[in-house]
Amino acid sequence: MASHPVVVPYRQSWLRRTAHHWYDTLGPWLCVLAVILVIALLAFVYLAQASYVARQIDMMAKLEKDRCKLHEENSALLLEIAQYEDVSRIKTEARAMGLGEPTRIEYVEVTVDDPLPLPGSRGGPLSDVRGAQLPAPQGPAFLSGIWQQFRNWIIGGTVRADQPSR
């Protein structure tokens, strides 16, 4: 049996050349299908965009709500702290505890000996002062002097630290 070669006319469209079988079979239905597919694709794109925006709106709404709630709680806490710090409240409670304003204010002058410099303490790395020892306290006389000073202050009058204790 002789085969008849398919002759494609030169002027046929690209669609007919590539899909000529289907086009010959389906005809205009192929176009309709293509249009529907394109519309569906566009619809999905818009839907995705709108859904994304709606999700963002919901997320922002939730965050704003949380932010407002935190602001409210913060303000309430600040007010509560202010109530506790109120001058008149503190005065009332202090008086109830038996505290009172001082009738007399006394200034106590305390003279403290200058600390002795550390050996090798001219700066530089710590290794330079490794093994250096802090000066030992000046014995019982140093502590008793401090104690005498405060004892005299408690009993009455002010005593300079360098005055001989009685």
Partner: protein, 561 residues
């Protein structure tokens, strides 16, 4: 293709197309719903047009104690038409809102579309009502301004009313910064018609830290109230400043009001008399006259004049307040005994040109630039003004015939205390916005007099306290102070012989001033003189300030140096 297979193919294609069409139709329907029918959910704080009101900034004192804060309260309302069980709702609301049941029931049965049941309830009450999930009830949030210390520093803070409008004081002056910037939400479309969502968050208000010290403010208010009450004065003002920087440590007026309530019988109580009202300073102004003359060199500390008890300037006799002649008098005695004849002698020696030039250099008849609302500049008649008279040169020298605010007067005193340098008074020390801290630096206005002249005046004022104004003498401290008693101009014309404005100004420690205080009592009835009416108030404030600011006595402080 056979006919059967072709038909089968067509059926399958048709089914596929129908399925795809259904999907497309569903998608289009959902799009239509989202874009046309369903508005975006509202965000908290959103006002109808999609804007968000930010939280107003708080106000603190210099140590961080809270002075003003915005909080959210809720207004409970109901839509009677939507309430299904009125009786039960009324029962529960009555218990929770602590209102009579009958009152609530009447509201719920009123037939109105909306009724307000209670304003300003707390979040706990609002949350409890919301948890009932009863239809027809709603809780509308509203921002209110709280001043937790009540009337403390009310004249400085000002207030924000229920509508959110700021008035007076720091609230009005810094309203823009405290209010912040509103945010917005906009739904828009791009060029392709796609949905866009633009959200600009609100910019929260700036927090302000004042130079006020709450503890100093409290003690000043207490002392001032005591002084006004004991002298039966009409009103009192007291200001404490740091002369080195111009920072206002306290500013009080009495009577005052509670900015939370704002219920007053006289609306003038809302004004801050320290900056918004003027008075004739009286003899306190002699400090300015003497400092100016010493600076110009027309007098020296050893200068003297002969006090005959009266001097005629511009055809008008000027007399001493005690009506006596004091003979040969030094400048220090002039200030100590507050002699009008002496100050008139000095001002005429200065000359009108130089005298008023110094008056302006000390900041009078100009705004001080303090960051408080409604400041007034006061007035001074100067040569060239048709109302100026030659006798004004004499009367102005002892603080009569001119008007100044208490803050202007104290700023001038602070200039003398600060080695002759005038500093700009200010009330806001730092601002905190979004984590950024802006510190307000002290501003020097100008050098008014030389340090030598300032030191000489200080010595004279210390002499005045030691010898005459002993009410201000505080053991252990050198205090420089001056009293003032000025006559009040009567509404009928002329000065009222019975009414005075009593004032007392000073600073300490004299060699290194840490604070300056001015007390002004308007029309005290029981004591008319500045030293007797305002002096005790000054003393009480100064004494407590030494303790509060931990300023040791002069012998201890100077021994350290």
């Amino acid at each position: 293709m056979t006919a059967t297979r072709e038909a089968q193919f067509y059926r399958r294609m048709f089914a596929t197309a129908a399925l795809l069409l259904m999907v497309v139709a569903a998608a289009m329907g959902r799009l239509a719903y989202l874009q046309i029918t369903a508005p975006p959910p509202p965000l908290p704080g959103e006002r109808g047009t999609g804007t968000f009101v930010p939280q107003r900034g708080s106000i603190y004192d210099s140590h961080g104690y809270l002075l003003a804060v915005s909080a959210t309260v809720y207004d409970i309302g109901a839509c009677p038409a939507k309430i299904t069980d009125t009786l039960t709702t009324a029962d529960r609301l009555s218990q929770e809102l602590q209102q009579p049941r009958s009152q609530i029931l009447d509201s719920l049965q009123s037939g109105l579309s909306y009724v307000q049941l209670k304003r300003g309830v707390g979040k706990d009450v609002s949350d409890k009502i919301a948890s009932w999930q009863l239809s027809g009830l709603q809780a509308d949030p509203r921002s209110v301004r709280y001043y937790p210390n009540g009337p403390l520093a009310a004249c400085v803070l000002g207030f924000v009313n229920a509508e959110g409008k700021a008035s007076h004081g720091v609230e009005a002056r810094y309203d823009d910064e405290l209010a912040g910037k509103p945010g917005y939400r906009v739904l828009d479309r791009d060029a392709m018609g796609g949905l866009l969502y633009r959200f600009q968050p609100p910019q929260e208000g700036t927090d302000l830290y004042l130079t006020l010290d709450r503890n100093i403010q409290a003690l000043v208010e207490e002392a001032l109230a005591k002084g006004v009450t004991s002298t039966a004065a009409r009103r009192g003002v007291a200001i404490v400043m740091d002369p080195r920087t111009g920072a206002i440590l306290a500013m009080a007026s009495y009577p005052t009001h509670d900015p939370n309530l704002r219920v007053v019988s006289d609306a003038s109580l809302f004004t801050n008399p320290a900056v918004s009202t003027t008075y004739e300073p009286g003899s306190v102004f002699k400090v300015v006259t003497i400092a100016s003359a010493l600076d110009l060199g027309v007098i020296s500390p050893s200068s003297t004049y002969y006090d005959r008890g009266e001097i005629v300037v511009g055809g008008r006799p000027i007399r001493n307040s005690d009506g006596q002649a004091h003979g040969e008098t030094t400048i220090a005695e002039l200030l100590a005994y507050s002699l009008n004849v002496g100050s008139a002698t000095v001002s005429t020696k200065l000359g009108r040109g130089k005298f008023y030039e110094y008056v302006r250099r000390f900041g009078f008849s100009q705004l001080s630039g303090v960051d408080l609302a409604y400041e007034t500049a006061g007035w001074v008649r100067i040569p060239g003004n048709p109302e100026w008279h030659e006798s004004d040169l004499a009367t102005n020298s002892f603080g009569q015939g001119l008007a100044a605010t208490p803050l202007q007067m104290l700023s001038a005193i602070c200039a003398v205390a600060n080695d002759g340098v005038l500093m700009r008074p200010y009330i806001v020390g730092r601002k905190v916005a979004g984590g950024n801290v802006t510190v307000v630096s002290p501003q020097m206005v100008r050098r008014v007099v030389s340090p030598e002249a300032a030191a000489q005046v200080t010595d004279m004022l210390v002499y005045a306290v030691d010898r005459v104004q002993t009410v201000a003498a505080i053991p252990g401290y050198r205090v420089a102070a001056k009293s003032g008693t000025s006559q009040v101009y009567a509404e009928t014309g002329g000065y009222d012989p019975k009414e005075t404005v009593a004032s007392f100004a000073g600073y300490a420690p004299a060699d290194d001033p840490r604070f300056a205080v001015l007390v002004v009592l308007d029309r005290p009835q029981k004591e008319q003189w500045g030293s007797r009416a305002a002096g005790p108030v000054f003393r009480e404030i100064a004494q407590q300030l030494f303790t509060l600011l931990a300023i040791p006595p002069d012998n201890v402080r100077l021994a350290r140096r």
